[in-house]
């Protein structure tokens, strides 16, 4: 076995081999989840494909194409593209602060001709790529060296600062969590981790006082006591909880969700799409959906731990964690366990950039899977 695998790693895989090697089970799983999303978009539009379901289906089909193409491209190519992609995403982020126009009270979008782009979404994937490449060279001991740690933290911190300036608290959170998780996986010493966690515990009240915007503070306050302003800012959380809770065990049935159909649910097609699912399919449906998500993550973990290259492992784990953080923050948010931070539910929520970046991420994950036997020397910079 080992010898055959070793031999396989030595030669370049043919296109046909790569195609058969793509984990089609995972692709099917993603498609099933995405279909749940289409069904919900159809439902919240009052049983119509427009305005949300049809564009979302088209985007998903494009996303599938991207997934396969990205999966077939050699992982070493992605390694070489890691820094340029990161640089480009960083430039776009700077641009969005300078020229981006306001959408939903925040500067998040940039217009590139007909395409509206959300650079912070690109940054999540780019950061994972770049950090994976950076950490690929570092041994466990080297990761904890101040210089290396400093560089890595700068790679995380600069985009995080830019995104928080947009301001987009949710994405900042995910960027920081992605970055820190990769450092942790690369073997960062506990001597760093413990004091850092302590520092964060101290920094939160400070940030509350000096860094956070009023609307962000309001969200937190609303979260802590949603009933205090049940018709104002607390509306979102209260109504989301009512929607989920009223689903009961088996749900109200497809297209029967009154909370969304009668517009009691805010942002029903984007951030709060899960509540509609929970309302219509109940506890049974929601837990089943969570299990599907968990299986995707399990696949990710399995791909990450079976990759032969450190870059591949970090990349796969980074993508998987990024996917997980979306689910976690969105899930906790719509169920009223954390404040509303504006993070969509991956594969379910309506939105172009999010869908394409998620599918691009899965492409990278799949590329790691396809090229799991490829070894990359520690000091390699890729193959371009």
């Amino acid at each position: 076995m080992a010898i055959r695998a070793y031999a396989a790693a030595k030669r370049t895989l043919s296109l046909a081999e790569k195609l058969t090697d793509v984990n089609w089970g995972l692709v099917l799983l993603i498609t099933v989840i995405a279909c749940c999303g289409f069904a919900m978009l159809y439902s919240v539009a009052g049983g119509r494909f427009n305005p949300w379901a049809t564009p979302q289906i088209l985007r998903f089909m494009v996303g599938c194409l991207i997934l396969v193409v990205v999966a077939l491209i050699d992982i070493r190519v992605w390694m070489s593209l890691a820094y340029p992609a990161y640089g480009l995403a960083l430039l776009l982020l700077i641009a969005v602060v300078v020229v981006g126009h306001a959408g939903l009270g925040a500067q998040r979008w940039i217009s590139l001709g007909p395409v509206e782009l959300q650079p912070s979404e690109l940054m999540k994937v780019s950061l994972v790529l770049a950090l994976a490449r950076f950490l690929h060279r570092k041994s466990v001991e080297e990761v904890s060296k101040p210089l290396n740690l400093g560089i890595a933290l700068a790679m995380i911190g600069v985009p995080a600062m830019l995104v928080v300036m947009e301001p987009n608290l949710g994405t900042t959170l995910i960027i920081v969590m992605d970055g820190c998780a990769l450092l942790f996986l690369a073997g960062l010493s506990w001597y760093w981790i413990v004091p850092a966690l302590t520092a964060v515990a101290i920094a939160i009240p400070t940030a509350w006082e000096y860094v956070m915007h009023d609307y962000q503070k309001a969200r937190v306050m609303t979260f802590l006591d949603p009933e205090a302003d049940a018709l104002g800012a607390g509306w979102n959380i209260t109504q989301a909880k009512v929607a989920i809770g009223s689903g009961g065990i088996s749900g109200k049935g497809f297209l029967q969700g009154t909370q969304s159909r009668l517009n009691f649910l805010p942002e029903k097609q984007t951030d709060f799409i899960f509540t509609n699912f929970a309302e219509e399919f109940g506890f049974v449906g929601s837990v089943a959906l969570l299990i599907l998500f968990a299986v995707v993550i399990f696949y990710g973990l399995q791909i990450a731990t079976s990759a032969r290259s450190h870059f591949g492992r970090l990349l796969a784990m980074g993508i998987t964690l990024n996917f997980f953080f979306y689910i976690m923050i969105n899930g906790l948010m719509v169920m009223g366990l954390i404040p509303v931070v504006g993070i969509p539910m991956p594969l379910l929520s309506y939105g172009g950039t999010a869908m394409l970046t998620v599918m691009f991420g899965f492409g990278l994950l799949m590329s790691v899977h396809v090229h799991r036997q490829v070894e990359i020397p520690r000091y390699s910079g890729g193959i371009i």
Binding site: G245, L290, R378
Partner: protein, 635 residues
């Protein structure tokens, strides 16, 4: 370079270990999410289902039509008419309520005060609740709004019902009026109708006393609404119960005549059926327009009503207490005959004044009346006769008779705010002033001055009882819905028929014998003659020596200081049918109250409402006996 160097092996181990650690962490998060779903959907599921249902379903109340108020012949005294109105729904006003009102004020007139009131009402209600902006619009205004509707988001034209009082000022004190619900009205009344914007509740009179009956019960429409309160569809419909009609004993025609006859005086008049106590008319002037309160009275109008020295808001018939003056002599006369004091030989000689102790009491006739019997005392309204008679009777006997005749206690009429008046007694004076009763007090009471006060309603009741000898009590409401208000047939009073005959004869002489104090005001048409008794109630405190009011002429005084003029009467003399009491506050010379009573009684007799068939079975009520009497009689 080796493919699996030592360093890579160690970091692979770390990576795998920590990945699995993170995997454990992620599993925990999934467990938390599932646990939360369990909590929300299974543990609290029913509660949230109810909340979602509450969100979805809105109960829209349908106000029932308010019951009418009718007179004895079925004439509508209070009814409902179409009310073209315009409502605003805050949530649907895209550019805000203020802008919507500004635009609307270009189409119809809306004052700043109205705008303020509307804004306040909107703030107090849910955003999808329609709040009335303007009511009672003309058809032209209403059409104009409908025409401009496309430019008026949030504005809803609506045809509702509003209370209308065709007899406005002439009937206002009986009917009262309806007005917007106040916080006090909500205490102890949880009818959801009351919280509906624009709902009206009875505030005075019959409208208040029978509010529950005429209000009816709300119907409900269960509708599915969206988050903005827009109705998606109706889920169910429950018809309300229309308010019940209230049938009064009033004859609108006599009432109207009486109110007009009182004119601009500050006056009150009651006409009753002597055999039953049913009230045929009761007017208090000046009146006011009840429709003002329905539409919303302006501060200026309210100030005008409260500061008017003729007190239009006061129902003088039952809420005004006055010294009865000489009309009280009928009570003293009854007491004197009944007690045996005034027997066939009883006479009192009047020389124009009488000295009791160290006080001299003057008669209004300074020349004196000479020797008088009871009937003569009444005919001449001789003060000395009644000073002396009262002194010899004592307060106890007078009080007893006065109470029997219906004075000194509320009559129990179906309207809120009735005053009891006052018939003083020894205990009362001790309680009130901590003083013993003096003979001088009795003497003052003898001519209806001093502590005695009565309401015009009590005067009419007293007259009815004297005229019929029956223990009648006043009644205004005959029937509610189709439910007759049962009451026993009036029994004879515990006073001898002889006493009443004599007093009636004395009252006959007052009006129909030359020299009687009201001879000038008699009804001379045969068959319609009335018997009566005049009265003057002093308003200012007379100083010693001015007694009798002869020193200062009434007409020279300030309106406020003039005496009240009273008159009680019944007719026809031979077969009493109608009793009447009139009081004119600070009446001018020439006894306007007597003229009014004469005209009203004559008009009533000629119209003869009691002789006409009523729109409801009047006799059934009068002859009916209480349930327990029937039982005992059946054995």
């Amino acid at each position: 370079m080796p493919l699996f160097d030592k360093k890579d092996k160690s970091r692979y181990a770390t990576f795998t270990r920590r990945s699995l650690g993170l995997g454990g962490g992620m599993t925990m998060i999934f467990a938390i999410l599932s646990g939360r779903l369990y909590q929300l959907q299974i543990r609290d599921g029913e509660e949230y289902k109810a909340e979602a249902e509450d969100n979805r379903v809105s109960e829209r109340l349908i106000a029932p039509p308010r019951g009418r108020i009718l007179d004895r012949f079925g004439v509508e005294l209070a009814n409902n008419r179409r009310n073209y109105r315009v409502m605003i729904v805050a949530e649907q006003a895209k550019d805000g309520v203020a802008t919507a009102l500004d635009t609307l004020s270009k189409v119809i007139q809306i004052s700043d005060a109205q705008k303020k009131r509307i804004t306040q009402t909107i703030a107090e209600n849910k955003k999808f609740m329609p709040v009335p902006v303007a009511e009672n619009l003309s058809w032209e205004e209403f059409s104009r709004i409908n025409l401009h509707l496309p430019y008026l988001p949030g504005v809803q034209p609506d045809v509702g019902e509003t209370r209308d009082y065709p007899y406005d000022l002439e009937m206002v004190h009986i009917l009262g009026y309806v007005a917007a619900v106040s916080p006090e009205d909500l205490k102890g009344d949880d009818d959801p109708l009351l919280t509906q914007p624009g709902f009206r509740i009875g505030k005075r009179g019959i409208e208040k006393a029978f509010d529950r009956e005429v209000r009816g019960e709300a119907g409900a429409s269960r509708v599915e609404v969206n988050a903005y309160g827009r109705v998606i569809r109706e889920l169910g419909h429950q018809d309300g119960v229309a308010g019940q009609d209230v049938w009064l004993t009033i004859d609108a025609d006599v009432q109207k005549y009486a109110a007009r006859r009182l004119g601009n005086e500050s006056a009150a008049c009651v006409v009753t059926d002597v055999a039953t106590g049913d009230i045929i008319a009761m007017a208090s002037t000046p009146g006011y327009d009840p429709n003002l309160f329905n539409v919303g009275i302006t501060p200026d109008q309210w100030k005008g009503l409260t500061q008017h020295d003729h007190k239009p808001l006061l129902d003088k018939v039952m809420s005004g207490a006055y010294p009865p003056g000489s009309t009280f002599k009928t009570v003293v006369a009854t007491a004197a005959i009944e007690s045996g004091l005034a027997d066939a030989d009883y006479r009192v000689s009047c020389s124009g004044a009488i000295t009791l102790g160290n006080h001299t009491f003057h008669c209004w006739q300074h020349r004196g009346h000479g020797s008088l019997d009871v009937e003569g005392g009444l005919k001449n309204s001789c003060d000395v006769f009644f000073y002396e008679t009262a002194r010899r009777l004592g307060i106890d006997k007078i009080q007893e008779t006065a109470l029997k005749l219906g004075l000194g206690a509320v009559t129990g009429i179906e309207l809120p705010g009735e005053k009891s008046g006052l018939i003083p007694s020894r205990e009362w004076k001790m309680r009130r002033y901590k003083q013993t009763w003096q003979q001088g007090d009795t003497v003052s009471v003898g001519i209806g001055q001093g502590y005695v006060t009565v309401t015009p309603l009590q005067l009419a009741l007293q007259t009815s009882r004297i005229a019929s000898g029956l223990n009648v009590s006043p009644r205004l409401v005959h029937m509610v819905g189709n439910q007759m208000r049962q009451r026993p047939t009036p029994a004879p009073l515990d006073i001898s028929a002889e006493a009443f005959t004599k007093v009636r004869s004395g009252m006959n002489k007052v009006t129909n014998e030359p020299g009687g104090t009201a001879y000038a005001y008699r009804i001379s048409e045969p068959g319609f003659e009335m018997a009566g008794k005049t009265g003057t109630a002093q308003v200012r405190a007379y100083t010693e020596g001015q007694n009798g009011g002869a020193i200062t002429k009434n007409a020279d005084l300030n309106w406020k200081l003039r005496d009240h003029g009273l008159f009680i009467a019944f007719a026809p003399v031979a077969q009493p049918k109608y009793a009447c009491a009139v009081i004119v506050e600070h009446g001018s010379d020439g006894h306007p109250q007597c003229l009014m009573a004469r005209d009203i009684l004559l008009y009533t007799q000629k119209r003869d409402p009691l002789g006409k068939p009523t729109a409801y079975p009047l006799k059934a009520a009068a002859n009916s006996v209480p349930a327990e009497d029937k039982k005992s009689g059946g054995i």
